[in-house]
Symmetry: C3
Subunit: 109 residues, 3 copies
């Protein structure tokens, strides 16, 4: 048994959950937030047999896409009269970050 934890973009989370449940996988979605952009995103947990990990990863690849977001950096602390022109910075939010963990014991009670 493996526990797959995939951190995905909030706009892809619904499609990913539906694609996995359509394939009869059991899925749990956790509320999470990115440390850098401080935007809410989704951490998806899927407990599967080892032989199914590749199919879960393929499903993630099909439904989760990288996006570029423009964020304006916070203005530095300025002297009065100084002029500051923030150039928006381009930040890429990848399709998904995936951790596969070994499960020492699995029980359905």
């Amino acid at each position: 048994m493996k526990l797959v934890i995939a951190i995905v973009h909030p706009e892809d989370a619904g499609a990913l959950v539906d694609a996995l449940t359509d394939k009869e996988y059991r899925v749990t979605r956790l509320q999470s937030q990115g440390g850098f952009l401080k935007q809410s995103n989704a951490s998806i947990m899927v407990g599967v047999e080892e032989a199914q990990v590749d199919d879960v990863l393929a499903t993630i690849r099909e439904t989760c896409h990288a996006r570029t977001q423009h964020i304006s950096p916070m203005p530095p602390i300025m002297e009065p009269g100084e002029f500051y022109m923030p150039y928006p910075v381009e930040v890429t939010f990848g399709g998904a970050t995936v951790f596969v963990l070994d499960v020492a014991r699995y029980e359905r009670i």
Copy 2:
């Protein structure tokens, strides 16, 4: 050290957390949502010594019970004039789904 992650029905979560803290276990509750029913449920994290895992599982068994819920399936896309009579589908939400993970390193700071 093992990390027990138990996904339980929201109506059992409070009783489970209290039963575990009464036994001096340390417990953290995460907000989560089921992939299929899309209802909020609870993911409970309990970090314990290996020798305590069986007692934690016994406590889960005592406080978490399976339930049957009736959900009406979404109507299919219909031709005008067609008549659709949804029969509610019975879905069982088990007592708990439990993953026990090995902890490579544990620190209390």
Copy 3:
């Protein structure tokens, strides 16, 4: 690859996330709640190379501090006319509780 899960006091969480992202670590914050005090706290997930685990723990030590909170215990069920004087109980909320898990497989999609 290791997955560090740190459960920290809500007042330290923001400083910890910023200290880790300043060091170019990738961080995800999960909404969580303590089992005993039932207060919202923060569970921070950081996926790092094994060689970086010590630096992540050092960063947690610098930003997360133990605190003592006074809670009034719930009054016991009382007979009419009995007088109950709750002495606030001192509860220490440690700096952080940290679990380091082995990652069997890591993918950025």
